[in-house]
Amino acid sequence: MNLESFLIVGAAIFAIGLYGVLSKRNAVTVLMGLELMFNAVNISAVAMSRYIVPARIGSAGEMLPQLLTGQVFAIFIITVAAAEVALGVAIVIAIYRNRETVFVTDVNEMRR
């Protein structure tokens, strides 16, 4: 297993998610696409943290624990994504209650 394999998988999932976000009319499907994009980013971040960050050597020549930047990022993204989905679904439900539709194409009140 090398870094490229992880990045290819991440990019593929990101592209699939982006396609879903941009092409689906149903707001729930759009949110699912969004979730895919988050997780694609997570995969890339963890993979790069694992493969790219160099080993650290102390002043006395001893090995130090590896930095976990990417992994920490991933955990944050999972948390934020959970909150975002909760909010997003709540909005979708509110819209559905108001106008009996979950199609993003019908929600265009921001037009001039």
Binding site: L22, S23, V30, V104, N108, R111
Partner: protein, 650 residues
């Protein structure tokens, strides 16, 4: 010897009185407004005494010009503008005239303006005027002179419009301000011209004594082009034309009679309007080095003398008759200066200040009794106001040039100079002589209508009673008003003979004034003097007979001449020309409409174009705003991809 400080005080005392009245008496002591009059009379009285001292000191000094540069005001390049004093015989004489007449007028005003709601304001402005006029006279620098020149113009505006609630007064004030400003613009151009030609003028080009000494010498020697004197002279003369009401800028002066009568006496008869003559006299040596300027001055003056006199013949307002007379007499002075008769011109300025102030104050006294200025509703006042009548008559005789009153000496000297002067076309010389005959006619007409015959109702009969009138009360004016009349009458009787006698008078040498002004005194031309006196007296009596005893004949005569009468009473349609043709049609109808069009079409057009450009771009961009979230997403994605692509491949 008078010192610098005392001369400054002549100007600063009235200005201090202005500040005191304006800042303290008027706002805080409104109930003691009498104080304003007392402060003014006190300050101007002190100024008068100092002026007498200045005159005495100049005489003792052998009529030498004294200059003090008190304060370095500005320094532009090599050019330095000093604020200072130029005390020469002309200045000293003018100081005495200005403060002396002003003092008498202020005393008179304390009676005339009694009970007016603007009493304190009146004296504040009068103080400011007297101070500014003194400043104008002593200025050693042309810029300093110009500042005070504008200040007296401002005071004139404020005092003409003193009863500003009357539309006629407000309009007259505006007219005076605007028309004199036309002349002042020429004066300003002359100053700028001198400033710009500083390199070719030896010495300081803005210093008056330099302009009247070194510059004419340099022009005479040929080191400076004569055109400098011509252009500067014409510009300065334009200012004098505006201030002194010379043709064609005379129309404001008769209208200025809307102001209180003492104002007319002081500002529009004795001092401010004479400032134009003073200005020409001040720069006389500069003017004299240009033939063109001198001929212009003589022609304008001579023409104005006649032109204004004709209009005085038909007016029914006593003050306006006197105003035309003032314009005419100022024309005499200009004429005299133009033919090189410097001494006679200043002499006439001096005598005219007294007898014309006397006539105006007399007119004020008359209106005090009759409540109107319209002579058609006066008449018969001789019996009720003997003091006013006799002093007015003296002033009128002096104006007509009857021996031995002041006007005779100065006016005859001018006419004699005119006849003996060969440098000028003969037509111009005859203009003031014809004007002298007309002067007698309109003066006698005014006297007859005012004092002779039966009283014709005064303010009760006149449809437009004057605001100050306060109705008819046929009685002599109070002593505080009569006393100045008597003093001025005394000056009118004695002034001409005493200061410029044709034979030595003990202490006073022969031709004292002429020598004092460093000019040659003219011996009296006896045949001419006899002829002119006899003719004047005959004409005076004949006119008196015509207007008093044969009023019906006079009326028939004026009816027979009705086209001429019409032309004169419409002031040669010049007011019509200036107001309706030049202002309304030319300015508002032509220039203003053109500018309005340019503003709407060009300026607004450009603004509207910019506005339309922005709006159209906005409208085009707004088409992209569909409200479709996913469309925006596609755009963002494509954009990011494009940027990444550019980053990677280029």
């Amino acid at each position: 010897m008078i010192s610098e400080l005392w001369v400054w005080l002549i100007l600063l005392l009235p200005l201090g009185s202005f500040a005191l009245i304006g800042l303290i008496i008027r706002p805080f002591l409104a109930r003691h407004s009498k104080l304003a009059g007392q402060v003014t009379v006190g300050a101007i009285g002190a100024s008068f005494l100092l002026s007498l001292w200045a005159l005495g000191s100049t005489i003792a000094d052998g009529a030498r010009a004294e200059t003090w540069s008190s304060y370095k005001w500005l320094s532009v390049g090599n050019l330095e503008i000093d604020v200072g004093i130029l005390l020469d015989p002309l200045t000293a004489l003018m100081l005495v005239v200005v403060t002396g007449v002003s003092l008498l007028v202020q005393i008179y005003s304390t009676g005339y303006m009694k009970g007016d709601p603007g009493y304190a304001r009146y004296f504040a402005f009068m103080s400011l005027f007297t101070g500014s006029m003194a400043g104008l006279v002593i200025a050693s620098n042309i810029v300093q002179l110009y500042i005070f020149w504008e200040l007296v113009g401002l005071c004139s505006f404020l005092l003409i419009g003193f009863w500003y609630e009357r539309p006629a007064a407000a309009a007259a004030a505006k007219k005076a301000f605007i028309i004199t400003r036309l002349g002042d613009f020429g004066f300003l151009l002359a100053i700028l011209y001198l400033f710009l030609n500083a390199d070719s003028i030896p010495g300081n080009p803005l210093d008056i004594s330099n302009l009247t000494n070194q510059l004419p010498l340099a022009i005479g020697a040929g080191t400076v082009a004569a055109s400098v004197a011509t252009w500067a002279g014409l510009g300065i003369f334009a200012g004098a034309v505006g201030k002194s009401g010379q043709f064609p800028l005379h129309t404001w002066l008769p209208d200025a009679m809307e102001g209180p009568t003492p104002v007319s006496a002081l500002i529009h008869a004795a001092t401010m309007v004479a400032a134009g003559v003073f200005l020409v006299a001040r720069f006389f040596d500069l003017f004299a080095s240009s033939e063109v300027v001198m001929s212009t001055v003589a022609a304008v003056g001579g023409f104005t003398a006649l032109f204004a006199a004709t209009m005085g013949l038909v007016n029914n307002d006593i003050k306006r008759v006197l105003a035309y007379s003032t314009v005419s007499q100022l024309g005499y002075m200009m004429f005299a200066l133009g033919i090189g008769a410097y001494g006679p011109a200043v002499f006439h300025l001096f005598t005219h200040a007294f007898f014309k102030a006397l006539l105006f104050l007399g007119a004020g006294s008359v209106s005090h009794a009759s409540g109107t200025f319209d002579m058609r509703y006066m008449g018969g006042l001789r019996k009720v106001m003997p003091w006013t009548y006799h002093t007015f008559l003296l002033g009128a005789l002096s104006l007509c040039g009857i021996f031995p009153l002041a006007g005779f000496w100065s006016k005859d000297e001018i006419l004699a100079h005119g006849l003996s002067s060969a440098s000028i076309g003969q037509v111009v010389v005859w203009l003031p002589i014809v004007a002298a005959a007309l002067t007698i006619l309109y003066t006698v007409r005014a006297i007859s209508m005012t004092f002779e015959g039966e009283f014709r109702g005064g303010a009760d009969a006149a449809e437009d009673a004057q605001p100050h009138g306060g109705g008819v009360h046929l009685a002599e004016s109070p002593p505080v008003m009569v006393a100045p009349l008597v003093i001025l009458a005394a000056a009118t009787i004695l002034g001409g003979w005493l200061i410029n006698p044709t034979t030595g008078l003990g202490v006073i040498e022969k031709h004292w004034l002429a020598h004092f002004l460093n000019t040659k005194g003219a011996d009296v031309n006896l045949p001419l003097a006899v002829i002119s006196t006899v003719l004047s007296a005959a004409l005076f009596l004949a006119a008196h007979h015509l207007f008093t005893k044969r009023a019906a004949t006079a009326r028939r005569l004026s009816e027979r001449l009705s086209p001429a009468h019409m032309l004169l009473s419409r002031k040669y349609y010049l007011d019509h020309l200036y107001e309706d043709v030049v202002t309304v049609r030319g300015f508002y109808g032509g220039a203003a409409r053109l500018l309005d069009w340019a503003d709407k079409a060009v300026v607004d057009g450009v603004v509207r174009m910019i506005d339309r450009f922005g709006r159209n771009i906005g409208r085009a961009i707004a088409l992209l705003q569909t409200g479709q979230l996913q469309g925006y997403g596609v755009a963002i994605s494509v954009g990011v991809l494009a940027m990444v692509g550019i980053y990677l491949f280029f």
